[in-house]
Symmetry: C2
Subunit: 334 residues, 2 copies
């Protein structure tokens, strides 16, 4: 059986914002699964800010994508051939098969999931890497206590939305930062944050002050840039900063200079950078807790779904500019 497979390759390394010309769509023929392999038909591809780091020349926390290679990325799909004892045709799996319609795998890093209680796409968001990033960073590093104030950027996105809802469940005052009124309305109206400030507001500093009358105890940092300086100026003593992203900086050709660094000293702040793949041992607990929250309606989420592999580059570029609203996915097959 010959399967036509479409793939998106990295064509060139962007400097600053990526362009569609940095990617190339190709059609190849895929061989059958060999002994010990599975062949997966991908249904959804996840687009995530970390991918920007993997296509840079500068050092990131993981190996970069080579020019001419398939773009990396998490996927969910269905096993359509199996010569692996652990998988059967029809199994639904989360895998990291990249920007392509099908993928072969030895099963390493492939996880069978139950899509009957939680929609399949959620395994790339709220009960996937972004949700577990939120869970780990907030609970293990942020250590929120009831009555404290938690601030999170990109609050309508897949990480920020879970951070804020978990913080509410922990009894905190929860303040999101998002781009534009529609996202802010969603964050307070649908997700139940106590407040949301628009980072495009020229009076952002005043808005943030009004939204955090008792200062800030936990800042879940996934944005960076000027917002970081505004937050640093409002930190309370012994504040905690889980640092899992700096999306405002990924396309920057000159890094933003953080001016209020001294606030980390005067307030005796704990800050820790983390990447969730260092903490795979915590996934089962995180998945169980997040899954229960979703099924029982305590955690809500929103998705932006682009249709077809060919839409992936534009959707990725838009996500880095904040054009998505909720978790950005690409639907590869209905």
């Amino acid at each position: 059986m010959t399967i036509k497979n479409r793939q998106v390759l990295l064509a060139s390394r962007p400097k600053g914002a990526p362009a569609e010309s940095d990617f190339r769509l190709v059609e190849t023929e895929l061989r059958d699964a060999e002994e010990g392999e599975i062949l997966v038909k991908n249904r959804f591809l996840s687009l995530d800010p970390y991918m920007r780091g993997r296509i840079s020349e500068s050092k990131s926390y993981a190996a970069g994508v080579e020019i001419g290679a398939v773009m990396i990325g998490s996927t969910v799909g269905e096993v359509i051939q199996s010569r692996h004892p652990g998988f059967a045709v029809g199994d639904v799996v989360v895998a990291g098969l990249g920007w392509q319609e099908h993928g072969l795998s030895t099963g390493q890093g492939v996880m069978k999931v139950d899509a009957s209680r939680v929609p399949l796409s959620a395994y790339l968001g709220v009960v996937g890497m972004p949700g577990i990033t939120a869970w780990y960073g907030l609970l293990e590093i942020g250590k929120p206590k009831a009555g404290e104030t938690v601030v999170v950027g990109a609050a309508s996105g897949p990480v920020g939305s879970v951070v804020g809802q978990l913080a509410k469940l922990a009894g905190c005052r929860t303040v999101g930062v998002a781009g534009g009124k529609a996202k802010c309305d969603f964050v307070t109206g649908e997700l139940g944050f106590d407040a949301c400030v628009d980072h495009r507001d020229p009076a952002l500093k005043d808005r943030l002050r009004e939204a955090t009358p008792d200062g800030i105890d936990v800042y879940f940092e996934n944005v960076g840039g000027p917002l970081l300086d505004l937050v640093l100026a409002r930190l309370n003593t012994f504040a905690r900063i889980p640092l899992c992203g700096l999306v405002s900086q990924y396309n920057a050709t000159e890094p933003y200079g953080v001016k209020n660094f001294g606030a980390l000293l005067t307030n005796r702040v704990s800050l820790r950078g983390f990447i969730i793949s260092d903490h795979m041992d915590r996934w089962p607990q995180a998945l169980a807790e997040l899954g229960a929250h979703v099924v029982e309606g305590r955690i809500k989420y929103r998705e932006s779904i682009a249709k077809g592999l060919e839409s992936a580059p534009a959707a990725f570029i838009g996500m880095l500019e904040g054009k998505n609203f909720g978790k950005q996915l690409v639907e590869l097959a209905p």
Copy 2:
């Protein structure tokens, strides 16, 4: 008995570098100790970078000094009157009596010390607040492991010198940063650091790279500014940064913008700001360990001693510019 007492008061709040005119020397008459009090004749006054923060208008970690008040500071001296059951005339004490020749105290925060094994002045340095700051920050936050590389700024000073010697005792490659050849020679020759780089060297970046061939695992941060950015660029995965000072910034009217903040994310760094007065419960253990190291010659130290209270303002101003060499003290009485 009337005692003439000389004091240095804060005359005005400096913007940028302090000037001698920001201080005023006065002579007053001191009353006798009342019931529950002691009167101490101060022998040494400690000058420390943190004092700069206490005379600013901006927020620091502690209350500031009011205009017209005696400058704060740690002192060692001898009890010359006691109406307190816990103290006798002749007791030698560490206290926080400020920039003055004598002081009255209720005994709160006053510690009797044994100056027979360790010189009295050392209780303001290597076995005092700076040494204990080094001990706590390096061991509790830095958590150095044998074979790792530890970098510390202001390496000939009272904190940095102890950090480096403790790091050597822990089996680490130890690299100091100091201002000028004389200090660097002392740091490697006398204190036994593996290397020392001169922060005034125009090729500091290259020198730091050469001195840290295996990257940096622990950066004990007490300096800030451009050095911080150079160090951030050389951090290893899971590096730790105890942050106890930013002396390069204390006189700055515009804060330095930290450009390599993203290295905290890519390397999953733990950074924690701390002030040793939050951790008084650890002093007995720290004092015992540091005292033994000093008595047995494993930790060496150097002092800059200015003579007479009237020399305190100039000595303080010089210390903020790095003109001292070793722990800066003022000898108030022979």
